[in-house]
Amino acid sequence: MADTQLEDPRFIEKLRQGDPVAFGQLVKGHHNMLLATARTLLSPADAEEAVQDAWIAAHRAIAKFEGRSLLRTWLTRIVINQAKMMLRKRGREIQFDPTNDPDALAHRFHGDGHWQHPPQHWELSSPENLLTREELRRCMEKHLHFMPDSQRLVLELRDLQGLPADDVCNMLEISASNVRVLLHRARARLFEMVDHFQETGEC
């Protein structure tokens, strides 16, 4: 089922009534997306467990879903809460303070705010499109892995899941400006990485 159908009020009403077929469609449509979110914080095995637990929690609570947010947002919030519990069990927590990681692009500017090292021209329109290169994809995965959890999570929620900024602030319980800074830092790291790859051909 397409995403819009999974947000349709009639479909949501079926879920609230406990329709098992509808719940199956919900799991089918959203599981992989929720798993990708959980994986930004947890190992693959822990992520599987967190999302499974989230489905159990969602199934129990769905009758009380009031449609004040997207269903997708509601589910993502449950997954994040499960993931946080799992992190606590492992003695970890997400560090949302954006100031402890520098801006990856800051070194490219002169003191007066003008470009000192402007971006390279990326080959985007040729058949050898830079962004579709396999080595670059692997390099990106590596950089995503080493990114601070909070940046990876915000990037996932905003740029990959496309969730509204307000929803992300609410579910993470952080300010709009922190979400903006974390997202910017994450994008800056990836931009810097691709630019370096374009220039040197290396990760």
Binding site: M1, G24, Q52, R137, F191
Partner: protein
């Protein structure tokens, strides 16, 4: 005039549609008209975000079944 570094910090809103004031949007647009480095930055940032590996595939039937089974099992407790 707006500095390039400032544009790069603010360009996120242009790329993802975060609401900004008309005045701010105007300042960003004006800077972009005059600065090819920043135009390149914004264009390539857009391309980069479009390329990020999204997870959109539906779950296969067997694994969907497995999850639903565990739901039933948890209800019995």
């Amino acid at each position: 005039m707006l500095k390039c570094q400032h544009l790069v910090e603010k360009a996120d809103a242009l790329v993802d549609g975060t609401p900004i004031s008309r005045r701010e949007r105007f300042a960003l647009r004006l800077h972009l008209i005059m600065c090819r480095h920043c135009r390149r930055y914004v264009r390539q940032l857009r391309a980069l975000l479009g390329f990020l590996p999204r997870e959109e595939t539906p779950l296969d039937d067997a694994r969907t079944e497995a999850i639903l089974k565990k739901l039933d099992a948890s209800r019995d407790h």
